[in-house]
């Protein structure tokens, strides 16, 4: 008998007119790894909620069909019984902490105490899960002092310790840097090998393809396909459904390489390398046209926080002429650097001159016309009742009259594709769309320099495509674009110049191509190689291995 049996599942959130889940049926057997793919708003999160009983026990609304968990119907079981069998880990590592425990070990114990387990059993399980997640050394640390990746591993440890039969993960790496994400994927891989039943929604298709036995492809609440990764990712209409296949599949499609046995495209690097193909290293990275733009001069810049912690150390840079990417792991000082450029922070030493203005002699608000900084989380700024008012807020602050502010705002909403949602409440649109509202609200001030902090985080294929368009458009209008990024594929597709930061210093500043060809820099900065570059290198190495004399 299947562990999880979903039959004709339908669900609609309260006060909504559209179904979030629409007639979904599938089964999950013990030990299987099921991936869930789909664009933002496809229904992935809602399906995860339904599998662990939060729909309909926590989120009310209209519910139809049924889910059987180990033979018991979820609708009729109390939530506490369901959660003892299904563990759930979601995006935001911070809000998964209980907030009432002061050490990592106690945090793991929180769920076990609620289950009423004897003390010896708790100690045993805490030790096992700390060991399994590789966080034994963090045992006595305060959970809030951990990095994002560590926090997410703690969240998984806390759930695993409760020994659920199924682990449901909803985009557990979307808010983590590449290193943090890799830490989580390593754990997921280990759990899979240990035979745990896993259901995971994820945007990183390369990972889903590598781990999943089957993939559920969702679109607008409907299950479009339930099949093996190769079959799902070989669909011709995948992009129309807002899902970008693994990069290996895209390359294979370009070369028309199908597996003879199944007629499907390869979905992992190993499968791709089984074919004889040529993917040259040259031409992988863009060369952007250099034009006249505003100029940022950073001279001997150092910055320490009031507690004495030094974040930036003697940085000298000149930024102008073309879109520039800033990369490096969390804590490298990237966000601090752009906050200094925007005069949100004042240099401890050295200076930043923007065209003619020293940032020490101005305020962030006064710099609004010159420098626009788009923050990672759009919800940090939204407070107006309509999308249009939200976008008009910046221009009005700059003293522009209402009519002109409105026309500027509408123009930018058009540019980000949200013109028809101008009168809606910003909180009624999706997060990806709110992110674009954040972009429009800065662009409406028409600054000469636009800085994006992590624009691709949590964006699906279409969101990234739109961002690429916006950056190209700004560049063509003579604006200077600077972008902090963790997504190396995006870096390698859009930016000609990349600055690598690590431990408060500039480790490298040069062409994007040169960054990734210097492996010591890549390792020191703990960044990943872009997937296309990995493929090209692997092919080259394979050739060298096959004919070592040539």
């Amino acid at each position: 008998m299947s562990l999880l049996h979903v039959e004709q599942l339908k669900y609609r959130y309260p006060n909504r007119s559209v179904l979030a889940l629409d007639e979904i049926s599938f089964t999950v057997n013990k030990g299987e790894f099921i991936g869930i793919a789909g664009r933002n708003t496809a229904g992935k999160t809602t399906l995860c909620y339904a599998l662990c009983g939060l729909v309909p026990h926590f989120f009310k609304g209209a519910y139809g069909g049924r889910i059987l968990l180990d033979g018991d119907e979820i609708l009729a079981s109390p939530l506490s019984k369901i959660t003892s069998k299904v563990g759930f880990v979601f995006e935001n590592p911070f809000s998964q902490l209980s907030g009432a425990k002061f050490t990592v070990a106690d945090e793991i114990a929180f769920g076990l105490e609620n289950l009423g387990l004897p003390r010896e059993v708790m100690h045993e399980r805490i030790q096992d899960s700390l060991h399994m997640l590789g966080i034994e050394h963090l045992r006595q640390k305060n959970p809030f002092d951990l990095s994002g990746g560590q926090m997410q591993r703690l969240a998984i440890a806390s759930v695993i310790a409760m020994q659920p039969e199924i682990l449901v993960l909803d985009e557990p790496t979307s808010q983590l840097d590449p290193q943090g994400a890799e830490e989580v994927f390593t754990i997921v891989e280990k759990l899979t090998q240990d035979g745990m039943t896993i259901v995971m929604a994820e945007q990183k298709m390369e990972k889903l393809a590598a781990y999943s036995d089957r993939i559920l492809l969702l679109h607008e609440g409907k299950l479009i396909q339930d099949g093996e990764p190769a079959a799902v990712f070989s669909r011709e209409d995948l992009m129309e459904l807002g899902v970008e296949p693994p990069i290996y599949t895209t390359v294979a499609k370009k070369h028309g390489l199908r597996k003879e046995s199944t007629g499907c495209f390869p979905v992992t690097l190993e499968e791709l390398l089984a074919f004889d193909l040529d993917e040259p290293l040259e031409g992988l990275f863009p060369v952007q046209e250099k034009i006249e733009t505003s100029n940022i001069q950073i001279e001997e810049l150092s910055f320490s926080y009031p507690d004495g912690q030094k974040v930036l150390d003697s940085i000298t840079l000149g930024l102008s002429s073309e879109p520039i990417a800033i990369v490096g792991q969390n804590g490298a000082g990237k966000t601090t650097l752009v906050k200094l450029m925007k005069a949100l922070l004042i240099p401890s030493d050295g200076r930043i001159v923007i065209d003619e203005t020293d940032t020490k002699a101005t305020t962030a608000a006064k710099l609004a016309k010159k420098v626009g900084l788009i923050f990672q989380n759009p919800d940090d700024q939204i407070f107006k009742k309509s999308v249009l008012d939200e976008v008009m807020f910046g221009p009005l602050n700059m003293g522009i009259d209402k009519a002109e502010a409105k026309s500027l705002a509408l123009q930018q909403l058009e540019a980000v594709g949200l013109a028809e949602k101008a009168e809606e409440n910003p909180y009624d649109v999706s997060l990806a769309e709110r992110k674009l509202i954040g972009v429009a609200s800065i662009l409406a001030m028409d600054p000469d320099i636009i800085i994006f902090d992590e624009p691709t985080m949590g964006q699906d294929y279409e969101g990234k495509l739109r961002l690429k368009g916006i950056i190209a458009d700004l560049h063509s209008k003579g604006k200077l674009v600077i972008c902090i990024l963790h997504d190396m594929d995006f870096v390698s597709e859009v930016f000609g110049r990349t600055i690598v930061m690590g431990q408060g210093k500039v480790l490298f500043d040069g062409s994007t191509k040169d960054v990734f060809s210097q492996l010591d820099i890549v390792q020191r900065a703990k960044i990943e190689l872009p997937h296309r570059y990995q493929i090209a290198r692997a092919i080259q190495q394979k050739r060298e291995f096959a004919s070592p004399t040539s």
Partner: protein, 257 residues
């Protein structure tokens, strides 16, 4: 600041750290109550001296100083109001320009000052030497609802996180040209755009946290257990009896005298 706990743990602990939270709570109650029951400066000073001795014994005396510093404004205002304006003023103590400090008012102010200082120090004995989770667990064992206990503890960790969040939101609004530096009016005006995101983000986080709590069985109805055994304090009964006896004696003495 990652959490708001004031708990200080010196190496090897201290006798006060080993004392059980309930005894310390009874100490706070007794100490504060008798400092208000006792009428003379000398006796209240003695009570204060005991609190200070306990702080020294607990190796946390230095940590109380900043807290006393914070209450300095309150103490100074008591001195000013009572010393200069107490209705029973008669005997002049000092004259500072047009202001006259009276002995009667000063005497009352000094007594209040001793009592407030003792209150700060007595609470210091409890707060600085007791782990918050042990304190709350003790209360839960004595009948406090576990949910309320959770709220007490989570506030300590979550308020500092909210302060960090507010900083982020301020930056995002300044980046959109909202001036927050300058006159008081400019600052007041900039407050409204902060409120929306702070409240909504906090609500969203609260919802997510309540999902996390559900998933981890916080609402299960079965009997809860606890990872850490609360250490047994061998002198607990004796200490509590002594404190109760002192309190009773003072009450009886005040009624009869």
């Amino acid at each position: 600041m990652r959490n708001m706990t004031l708990y200080v743990h010196p190496e090897n602990g201290s006798p006060i750290h080993r004392m059980d939270p309930l005894t310390k709570m009874l100490y706070v109650f007794t100490s504060v109550a008798i400092s208000y029951l006792l009428p003379s400066h000398l006796l209240v000073s003695l009570v204060l001296a005991v609190s200070i001795l306990l702080l020294v014994d607990g190796k946390v005396f230095r940590s109380i100083l900043p807290i006393i510093g914070v209450s300095f404004v309150l103490l100074a205002s008591i001195l000013v109001v009572q010393g200069f304006f107490h209705p029973d003023r008669a005997t002049v103590l000092w004259e500072i320009g047009p202001f006259t400090l009276y002995k009667e008012g000063f005497s009352i102010a000094f007594l209040i000052l001793l009592r407030v200082l003792n209150m700060v120090c007595a609470f210091g004995v409890l707060i600085l030497t007791t782990k918050p989770d042990e304190l709350v667990e003790t209360l839960v064992q004595k009948g406090l609802s576990p949910r309320f206990g959770y709220v007490l503890l989570s506030v300590l960790q979550i308020i500092p996180q909210m302060m960090t969040l507010t900083g982020k939101i301020m930056d995002a609004q300044r980046a959109r040209g909202l001036e927050m530096e300058g006159s008081l009016w400019v600052r007041v005006k900039s407050f409204i755009p902060l409120l929306g995101p702070v409240v909504l983000r906090s609500l969203a986080e609260t919802r997510e946290r309540s999902i996390a709590l559900e998933v981890r069985g916080f609402n299960s109805t079965g009997k809860r257990t606890r990872l850490h055994e609360l250490p047994l304090y061998p002198y607990g009964v004796a200490a509590k009896a002594l404190l109760a006896a002192i309190l009773l004696t003072v009450i009886v003495w005040r009624i009869w005298s």
